[in-house]
Amino acid sequence: MTSILFKNARIVDPVTQTDTEQDLLIVDGTIERLGPGLSSPDAEEVNLRGKTIVPGLCDMHVHFREPGFEHKEDIRSGSAAAAAGGFTAVACMPNTHPTIDTAAVVSFIFQKAQGLPVDVYPIAAITKDRKGESLAPLLELREAGAVGFSDDGSPLFNTKVLRIALEYASMLDVPIIQHAEDPNLFTGGAMNESIVSTELGLPSIPRLSEDAVVSRDIMFTAYVNGRYHLAHMSTSGAADAVRDAKARGLRVTAEITPHHFTLTDEAVRSFDSNFKMNPPLRTADDVRAMKEALRDGIADAIATDHAPHATFEKEVEFVYAPFGIIGLETAVGLAVTELLQENWLTLPQLIEKLSTNPRRILGLPELRIEEGMKANLTLLDLEAQWTVDVHRFKSKSRNSPFHGMTLTGKPVGIYNNGQLVLAD
């Protein structure tokens, strides 16, 4: 029997609508007692005065690169990065090699993640090999444990396949997660189309490409009464479309990455490929629209789109660099700095976006900080100021545009699956 006693923590739980300073006793991975002035002679005591305990955070959009690209990241290193970033759960995207489009690969992911303090849930491909042509065996993939379906990295563009996918997945109450982009408008684009791409002469990706596909997808979702989740929403136009869909009561949800509510395409003037991702960094108007979408509940979740690449892969000409940046170890700092401190969200609202809602979208068990519940917790220091140093990251990769930035709000650790992981 192992027990841990967290003393003097502020406990915030949006589900039970708790915000009090209490002690929390965990015995064998379960919340045994909750209340003021607890003591337990056998327990390891951790004083969390000034710190906050929240339900375990969940990042519903990461790329852990295993199997196939383990030089960028693997399930073990990615999970270590997640734990360091305050996440107890992640959903990993299927653009691996081989693709997560068979039950065998789904099982492989679970097997690799077994015993880790971070729960790793596979998202399986919608179509075989993510080619957008014929459906992967969605029922079998769900049976094996897939929590959602996505061809992320590529859009599901063919309207016939889109319709069938939405219809078929609706049997499972699992979302179709879309990377919304029109491939006909993609001509080797490397950044957002704007005055900045015009000045730099870089090939560009118009906002229209995302707007048009999201609007179209919502029509299809309405028509077949499907469940649709928009990955990495980045444009004000897409936010308007989702706002409208929600007002109509459609089963449409959306996530936003920290970089899309923080950075603009002005950063690309440096030609630093750590500012290259897809969707690309948009304009200041879009950044504001993303914050408004979070505030108004149009965006349900904050997800990092953690996309590790080796330094030698990123250290090339901007147009040749692969898309993507890592995000797990900066998400909490960016969310606190940009959203909480600037009063776009309250703390309970922020925890909803980082834990409650992504878990709900993926059909994961609801977390509550209550006696008798499994202890799945994130420990935060909301006041800590720190400077991002990629060399201290647990991820195998270093491709973060936030290196050197000073942020407020830092994960202190996580507790999950009977394991306490404290940050360095």
Binding site: S194, T198, G201, L202, F271, E315, V316, E317, Y320
Partner: protein, 308 residues
Amino acid sequence: MSSLQINHLLGLQHVSHEDITLILDSTDTFLEILERPIKKVPTLQGKTVVNLFFENSTRTRISFELAERRLSADVVNFSASTSSVSKGETLLDTALNIEAMKVDIVVMRHSAAGAGHFLSTRCTSRFINAGDGAHEHPTQALLDMCTLRQKHGTLDGLNVCIMGDIAHSRVARSNIYGLLTMGANVAVCGPSSMMPYELERLRVRIFTNVEEALQFSDAVNVLRIQLERDAGANFPTLREYHNSFGITRQRLDRLGRDITVLHPGPINRGVEIESEVADGAYSVILPQVTNGVAIRMAVLYLIGTKAE
């Protein structure tokens, strides 16, 4: 002579009026050298210049090489028609290896916008951009400005229109930035489908009617149409382009006044420019080529001899 504020010539967007003036003024000295029987000075003796060309180019490379040799620099040419990525070695590795052989100046042409900018932040050599994707081609714009200054005396208040595919043109961008800095009034003219997004946010007039553009202009800089890429993709046919946007003798004569015609070459006779114009009295196309060598001598001299 005073020295440049910039350490590298990566583009003209952030180059000051003083620096451009210094380069243009220095060019006059080198033009005089080009008229001598022995066109060689010892200015860069002992300096090594590498011409790193990742994209096909004949005239720009020859122009740079002549400029380098006439300044007595040691010259090495590196040509690779394919991108560094497809060769298996990264651009950075290529550059670091060449630099390890102790070179002083790298002149680079590359198909990727910002390639020179990227290397200049990681290497110690001085970089001169000989064209990077659709981003900038600063020595071309400098030679265009040099040619315009010769003919019109000043760039201040001069009305210059750049004609053609603005979206994909590094020549257009460098000319826009340089000319605006030097006080010219800049316009562009071409099919709407060849204008980059939000171009109106630059201080540039936009014409889609060639007659109106010519009315505005003291000089027009006619860009090359990329035959292999553009017809059918960015406009319907070459015939339609020529009829609607081609610079013809008839269109120029109708103005009833002088107008200067530049072209960065190589020209497509009968497409963006009529032969009669290219070879006629309005044209300064061959003086541009001569000025190109002098401009590159000036840039190499000013960059190569600037103190650390």
